[in-house]
Structures are given as C-alpha cells and as structure tokens.
Amino acid sequence: MITKGARILVEELIRHGVTTVFGFPGGAVLDIYDELYKCSDRIDHIITAHEQGASHAADGYARVTGKTGVVIATSGPGATNLVTGIANAYLDSVPMVAITGNVAESMLGKDSFQEVDIVGITLPIVKHSYIARDVCELENIITEAFEIAQSGRKGPVLIDIPKSTQQAMCEYAGSAEIKKRKKKKPYDITEALELIKDSKRPYIYCGGGAIASDMGNKIVELSQKIDAPIGLSMMGLTAVPGSYELNMGMTGMHGRLASIIAQAEADLLIGIGVRFSDRATGNVDEYRKNCKIIHIDIDEAEFGKNIPGIVELCGDAGEIVGDLIANLPKLDHSSWTGKLVKQKSIDDTPRKPGGFVPRNIIRMVNNFVKPDTVVATDVGQHQMWTMQHYRFREPRTLLTSGGLGTMGYGLGAAIGGCVANNRRRTILFTGDGSFGMNLNELATAVSQRLPILIVLFNNNTLGMVRQWQNMFYESRYSSTTLNRGTDFEKLAKAFGADGARVTSMEELTDVLDGGLPKDGPFLLECMIDIDELVLPMIPAGGSFKDLVVD
C-alpha cells in the first residue's frame, strides 16, 4: 500500500513488537502523533512531563522486558532533552530506539526554528544513528535500527526523521529483513578449563551482560559445580538470586564485605559480561595482583580495555558458561567458601537493630513487597544502600543508572518499569537531591495511575557528595546542604498523589500496613540523619587494603 512516512514508522514499530512508546509531542512530530492516535488500539503512547523522563521510562521498560524501549521526541529542545537518557542507555547497554522529528529536509542546515543536529550531538553515545531523508528508506532503517539495538552488546540507536519524510508518500510492504552480518567467532575453552581445575579459590564475577544473556541459572550451576562464590557488579546485581548461599552480593567501591574479601583472596576470577569499571576494580594493579582472569563477553573490545584477561572468550555468555559446566568436574573449595559464607552472615547482622536507618528501612520495604517487584533507584547514597541491603530475588527487577550515574533517572525508569511489569506495585528508592531533578514525572505517574511507592530518603543533603567531602575534603561541605524546605507530602498531594512523612520504624510499619493506593503513586518521605554513611567503602583508585568499614 502507498502511505505516508509517519504511518510507515508506526506500522513498523508495531511490526517489531512494540506495544508501548514513551514521548512528548511537538511540531516536528505532529504527523507521527497523528498516526499514533489513529493506531491507539494497537500501540500505547505514554506522555511524560519531560523528554528526559520519557527516555528513562523507555530505558526502564527495556530493562524489565528485555525488549527494545522506544522514545519519541520532537526536534530541537525535545531532541536534546533525550541526550542524558540516551547516554544512560549507552553506558548500561540498554536496547533503545530513540525517534526524533526534525524540520523539513529543505530547511535542514539553515538554523531553522527548533532545528538541531541531533545526530551530530549524539554520535558518541549511540550504537548507530540515521537521518531518514528518503521515505522509501524508512522501513529498512527501522528494521535495521531494531536489529542493531538488540544485537551483540545492546544499546541505543537514534532515528532522526525530517517532517518532509513523515509527510512523504511511499509504497509500504512491511516485510523488510536485515541480513545479519556478524558471524559468530569460534572460542576455545581448553585453557579456561585448566585454569578452573587448577584454581584453589575461584571467584565468579558477573555484570550486566549476565542479565542481558538471561543466564542466571547457569551462573548458579557453574558456582555449584566448581564451588565458587559469586560477586556481582551493580549492573549484574539481579543476575543471581539474593537467597543463593554463595552469592556474596555486590563488589567494588561500596560492595559488601564478603564479596570484596572473596575477590581480594581469589586466585582465579571468572568475569562474565563485565567491563571491569573503575568503580568495581579500584586500583587495577592490586586488583590483578594474585589473581588470574578469565574474561567472557560478547563485546570483543572489552577484552583488555580495562583489565587484561589471561583467557578471553568472546561470545554469548550463556553459551560459553554452558560449555564450561559441561566439561568441568565437580570441585570442592568448601574450606574457603565456608569462611566467606560466615563473613556474609556477619555482614547481615544489623548494627542498629530497630533504628530508623536506611538498612532497616530498605529491609522493611523488602519484606513488604512481592519477589517480582521492580525496584528503581536514583543515584547517590540511597542507591548504594539499596544495592547493599535489598535482596533481589529475580532477574530484571532492578533499574539503576550504573555507568552514567544519572541523578533523576529513577522516577522515569520506575514509570517505564511499572508499565512493563503489568502496572504492578513498583518501588523507587530515591534521595531528596536526586528526586529534585525530575520530580515533575510525578505528574506522569499520577495521570497513568501507576502504583509506585517512592521511598525518599531525606537527609537534607547531597549525601554521597557530602560523604566524600567528609572523608576526603576535611568536612568542607561546599554546596551540599540543601535547606530547601520542600514539604514532600504536600508536593505529592499537589501532583494528585498521596504521601506521608515518617521518622521511626513504627511509623513506617503503620504506613505500609495501613495500605497503599493500588492505582497511584505514594511518596514516603523518610527523615534520616544527615551523617549516615555508605559503608564499607574503598576510596576511588584504592584497593582492599584501603577499605573503610566504620
């Protein structure tokens, strides 16, 4: 059939399995929104308060479903408002297709009203990008964009569509296919098998790639077979159930002690879908000192980028680990793993039982919700407390900004995650600093009647920055004490939501037991001490030896 470009776009989105898109309309995408209106029985559009929120929502949606998240923005400022969300998806390898409108082709390059070179602006933070100048190329471009976003190491793709392309007519077949060019490279596990058999203290370290590869069961199976503890990067945190005995939890700068000790004492590290971020490794020389490294990743460029491995296996992590399991004998390292399990239980012993402190608040919320509850966080101390104390039970239940560290990510992501999880109860752990960045998305959560429980840790400060000022800048608290006087309960109510302020565990219990709204957000403001720290901590560039525990 012959149809206009905007309709081709919407039909292609539907053909690629997209059921929900997030975005914000504007002059340069009017034609697309007109077609979305006509196709609203087949595809939902969720309008956010700001395009950044829409991009984080698409990101959260993608992390929960494993599908490609889609965000639409108009030209100029609409497009530039996506930049942080695209960069966030790029750093965390989240599959996303960002669609921006642009001025008509004849107006391109003339500094026209609301014109911006969004392809140029986003070049360093996308896997690939397109300007769809020719309507007849649109079908192929969209198909290719979805293929690129999901293939190999996943990531964001941008399609900039001039208004003239949206309005131009073209024959639409709806059958474009893209030939996959990248051939799987063969890998050889022989040396890895020998290293694992010879190891006395093997340690499995998993990142976001383990979740992208949906291989949590295989990691547990490998751990059981070779009797090795598992440590997780923040991005890999839900790869393995928190209840698994040898799951030592997050490692790195604010990792759990058992996990940090396991890594420091290991003689062999099996890295699966990790990029050895500086937040995880600290001092690289110390990190590698007594430890041989087997690195498994789908992205060849990760090998040797931050840490050189002795053996590098390129391919799908699930497939490679499956091969390792099939070819390894059952091993026993119980004298070592037993010690670590003991350490883990010491870590779990509360320091201030019953106190109104982040650990206890998070544990209380943890007990209150179902195992498949999606949890989003913003960035800061509350994020690290969540990583340390929340027990994630199922994969794809954590939405957090790992690579970019985007304050203001959480609420948008929670909205996307909640929609993706059939609009079931979703938790957002946030701080007063982070929440201030994109709190306008409360309007979206209210209008969509999304049951998001926002647990806001209010310590009247930018806590993580203050912690660094406390530890490394002789307590010169430059611009971190907020004193904004925001009444978050009233703020929630002004947006049409409900909320409460709590100052004790008893009050918290009362609110949670009293019942939360089933179809709308609830903001729970937890007043905590300004001097609460995230511990343990390894200072940037430090090693296990520099660990600060108290």
Partner: protein
C-alpha cells in the same frame, strides 16, 4: 611507547561515516596523523587508510572499537613491513634563472613530474613513501617552497589477501 601504525578500513560510502570515525578517535583520545579516503571498485564502499601513533594498547583497542561501528565493514592493522604505502605531494616552488637546472635535476632524481609552469613558479607532483617525500621536500627548501599540499598514506598489503576489498565482503555475505 608511541609508534606509528596504519589501519586499513572498508566503510559504507555515504555521508556522515567520516564523522563517526573521527568522532571515535576523538572520544577515545586517539590521534590521527593522516587519513585518506576514496571510493572503492564497488561504489557502495569507501576505503580509508588511517595512520595513527600510539602504544600497543591503543593500537589493539582502536581496531576493536572501529570494528564495532555499524558503518565499518572491516578494519585491520596493515603491518608496515608487509605493505606498500605511498603518499602524494603537490609542491609549488619558486623559480628563477639561477637554480632552474638544479631543480630539474632534483625532479629527475626523485621522479617528480612538472604539472604546471608559471613565470616565476613551478608546480610539481610526486608520489612515494613518506620518507622519500620528506627527503624531497627538505631538498626543495633552498629553492623556496611557496605552497604545498600533501595527502595521507595509501596502503595495500603485499601478500595475496584481499580482505579489505568489496569482493571479499560480498563473499562473506554469501557465507552468512
């Protein structure tokens, strides 16, 4: 230690590709010493030769990162000892009654061609290795260099492989 090395690339032949490649170098903090690009025997692809300088880490990383770009069909290190590499030079020299015979002798020795002859200048064209062109330019200085224009390196491997050819890509596509 920083060393020069050559990367050969086959890339899609459309607008914006050069920007993506230059952007990657910029983003990762790598240096481009020279870059040449032109259409191949198949107009769908362009061939680039990039000369960079950096350590072993950069050398291996840059090729891996280039190969991740969607528009890059193939990127490979071209080992210096296994390659024919040439650069191209256009040079405008001052002329006068004195020294003209010396210029003519120099052009003869280096195999440079006269492309244009003015009243008091001459434009010569020379093709050769980077070192040979450097040497030729040094010897031209005394005559007075008015302007010059120099290309980056063009490199092909000396062995029989054709991995950086459009034909090879077609063959790969058939296999996939």
């Amino acid at each position: 230690m920083a060393k020069k090395f050559i990367i050969g690339l086959l890339v899609n032949n459309h607008y914006g590709v050069l920007n993506r490649i230059a952007g990657l170098y910029n983003k990762r903090g790598y240096n481009i010493d020279s870059l040449t690009v032109g259409e191949t025997e198949d107009p769908r692809y362009s061939r680039m030769t990039i000369v960079s300088s950096g350590d072993e880490y950069m050398k291996t990383q840059v090729v891996k990162q280039l190969n991740k770009l969607h528009d890059v069909k193939m990127a490979k290190i071209i080992e210096d000892e296994n390659a024919v590499s040439v650069e191209h030079l256009l040079l405008k020299l001052k002329t006068g009654a004195e020294g003209n015979s010396d210029i003519a002798a120099l052009l003869n020795v280096y195999g440079a061609k006269v492309m244009d002859l003015g009243k008091d200048f001459i434009i010569v064209d020379m093709t050769g290795s980077s070192e040979k062109i450097d040497e030729f330019m040094r010897k031209c200085i005394p005559f007075g260099i008015l302007e010059l224009c120099r290309s980056g390196s063009l490199s092909l491997t000396k062995d029989g492989s054709n991995e950086l050819s459009a034909l090879y890509l077609d063959k790969l596509e058939e296999e996939y």
